[in-house]
Amino acid sequence: MEVDGTPPMPWNASRDWPQTRAEFESLIERYQGPLVRYAFRRLGNIQDAEDAVQEVFVRGYVQMQGGRRVSDALAYLYRMAANVCTDVLRRRKRARGWPQRATNEPIADGGRSVADEALKQESVQRIERLVARLPRRQAEVVRLRVWDGLRFEEIAQVLGCPVSTIKSRFQYALVKLRAVINSAKEEL
């Protein structure tokens, strides 16, 4: 719809909270990947990560239906994901001592296997080992960019910082990590 000849602003999934079912589906499409990766970083288990993300979107949909106004969609989704992951970890802590699922049992969904999951966990741990050498704020930018696969603009929205700050943090982080990787190679 045009008002006074001005074209409507296109819906921006990272910024605008969806108002329609179609927009909500686009939101899921765009951010299910980064959110699953984020949840996997926190929970270390793909099944739990996907369950958590599903819970995030269901809660988000209820909010949309309730007419809730959200100013920064992506930051809101990440906050919800963080809360859901914290709940899962808390539940796990409470359930400690109960029999766990056998580690070699294949995970039904998507035909993924324990081997797949182990490989991904190894990736997370390898990145974490490197990122751990960075200051906290730079490390968080690297995680969101490298592991979650967000763009600088999206990272800025999640962390509530200007894009220029995110870029400079990322650049400083890369320069530091380059030195770390080079020195590790020299030691070998």
């Binding site: 589906e25 899921i28 499409e29 299910q32 990947g33 959110l35 699953v36 990766r37 996997f40 793909i46 996907e50 993300v53 599903q54 979107f57 269901v58 949909y61 209820v62 239906q65 309730g66 007419g67 809730r68 969904d109 998507g110 993924r112 797949d116 490989l119 991904k120 190894e122 990736s123 997370v124 390898r126 990145i127 490197l130 990122v131 690297v142 960019r145 490298v146 592991w147 696969g149 967000l150 763009r151 600088f152 999206e154 870029k167 400079s168 990322f170 650049q171 890369l174 320069v175 990590l177 380059r178 990787i181």
Partner: protein
């Protein structure tokens, strides 16, 4: 594009999903890489670092996740999926408002009503004097109260105070005489204050009466008794009155500073009152006990006149270095002082400030020679009584103030001079040691330890041959100085 610009913006090329290179700036970055080897190498290094960080296998959401999520959304119970009632958003503010109203209601209705004890009855009960005792404590701010003395009031003018350090003072307000007793040492001294200005009354009845019509604050248990609590209209006196006996149980008096209550100020607490106690007149006698070593009577100056007017002895101008040392022996402050007379003094502080004081008028002049600036402080409502320079005469007076005079504590060499030491504890239990040059009979070092404050004042480097040019002690700012006049109130 310069190399510096490139280095600042190279990170744009490392975004997660770079936009198609339509942007002129990105194109400029890529153009620069083509022509600058160093920047191309930098970009290559950063790319390699990023590649080293990239996960071996990128985790993607299951293709079924979206469908599963939408399916769950479609199957949500209608109550949850339905549009929220907008009034639901108001429940929190409404609850908060209701809670506030409830608190206001409770506060208004819990205000104390009629006191179980009429304050006028308390005043009436105390109108006829009855001997009593109480404990007097002092506290500063929120610090723990410290016992000052056990007080025994025999009559509206005679009081016996027993201090925690063992001293006993019997005081007669009518004559201005004080008897100091040290029961453990069997020693006694009498102090006489002729023409003592009218002092405050000793009787609690006067104090209670002075509260006028105090505000009733409510009831509270105190010392195991159910009490009514009253506060004087100026807020300085709080009195707990036993509902049964209608006599005071506790009193707290806040001492004002500059006419107002200040944080950390002094509060005197009177508690554990006992009325109608049995009185042995011998315990309140101002005559020293027969078996005590009595030093005699020390007559203090007429306090109705200024101390400088009282003292006609000649004054020897002198200078000394004053140092205050704390409990750990470290110097807290030092100051060079020049005494021109009993009232005029010049102080020079290590930071370059010079202060001239006139204790006769209460005025003083601060000078900052490095800034050529000055401030003249003029005192309003000044009372010169009791204000006198801590001169050598005063120092020596301390040695005899306990009535027995000082003890010779031997000799020692100080600053190359053979000195004799004298020690005395004054009547307020401060220790004074004076080291006197055996040849000139002039002081070389004076140490005064304020036991209660755990501080020691050390006076040394005495000089009697000082420049007494009145200009050095003038309270008028030098003509080339910028200055301001500040008025302050002595009270």
């Amino acid at each position: 594009m310069t190399c510096t610009e490139f280095q600042k913006r190279v990170v744009d090329l490392l975004d997660a999903a770079p936009q198609p290179v339509t942007d002129l700036r990105d194109r400029a970055l890529r153009d620069h890489i083509r022509v600058c080897g160093a920047c191309a190498a930098l970009y290559g290094e950063l790319q390699k670092t990023l590649a080293a960080l990239e996960p071996d296998v990128r985790l993607e959401a299951s293709p079924r996740l979206k469908g599963r999520t939408l399916n769950k959304i479609d199957n949500l119970p209608p109550a949850i999926g339905a549009k929220r009632n907008p009034w639901r958003r108001l429940w929190k503010p409404a609850l908060a408002a209701a809670a506030t109203l409830l608190i206001v209601f409770l506060v208004l209705h819990s205000r104390p009503g009629k006191p179980p004890v009429a304050f006028a009855d308390v005043v009436r009960n105390l109108a006829v004097f009855r001997p009593y005792l109480y404990d007097e404590e002092v506290k500063y701010g929120k610090k723990k109260p410290e016992l000052f003395a056990h007080q025994f009031i025999m009559s509206p003018t005679i009081r016996r105070s027993e201090f925690p350090d063992g001293r006993v003072i019997i005081f007669d307000l009518a004559t201005g005489d004080e008897l100091y007793l040290w029961p453990d040492q069997k020693k006694a001294t009498k102090h006489c204050y002729p023409n003592l200005p009218p002092a405050s009354h000793l009787s609690i009845s006067e104090t209670v009466n002075s509260c006028g019509r105090p505000e009733f604050l409510g009831t509270k248990r105190m010392e195991g008794k159910k009490c009514s609590v009253f506060r004087s209209s100026d807020g300085t006196n709080t009195i707990w009155v036993d509902n049964q006996s209608q006599l005071p149980v506790r009193r707290e008096v806040i001492h004002l500073q500059d006419g107002r209550i200040v944080q950390g100020g002094r509060t005197v607490i009177e508690s554990h009152f006992k009325f109608d106690i049995e009185i042995d007149p011998a315990r309140f006698s101002l005559e020293p006990p027969a078996d005590y070593d009595f030093s005699g009577t020390v007559t203090h100056e007429d306090k109705s006149r200024s101390r400088q007017d009282n003292d006609s002895r000649p004054f020897q101008p002198y200078s000394c270095l004053d140092e205050w040392r704390g409990e750990d022996g470290k110097t807290e402050s030092s100051i060079r002082r020049y005494f021109l007379s009993r009232t005029i003094r010049r102080d020079e502080t290590p930071d370059g400030c010079v202060v001239m004081q006139d204790l006769g008028t209460g005025s003083y002049l601060e000078l900052w020679p490095n800034k050529k600036s000055a401030a003249k402080h003029v005192c309003r409502n000044y009372d010169p009584r009791g204000r006198v320079n801590a001169s050598l005469d005063e120092m020596f007076a301390r040695l005899t103030s306990n009535g027995w005079g000082p003890k010779n504590i031997g000799t020692k060499t100080i600053d190359g001079k053979n000195c004799t030491g004298f020690h005395a504890t004054d009547f307020v239990n401060n220790d004074t040691i004076v080291w006197v040059d055996s040849q000139t009979n002039l002081p070389v070092r004076i140490e005064i330890t304020q036991i209660k404050l755990k501080r020691t004042l050390i006076q040394s480097d005495f000089q009697v041959d000082i420049d007494t040019d009145p200009a050095r002690f003038s309270l008028e700012p030098p003509p080339d100085y910028e200055y301001k006049v500040v008025e302050y109130d002595f009270k």
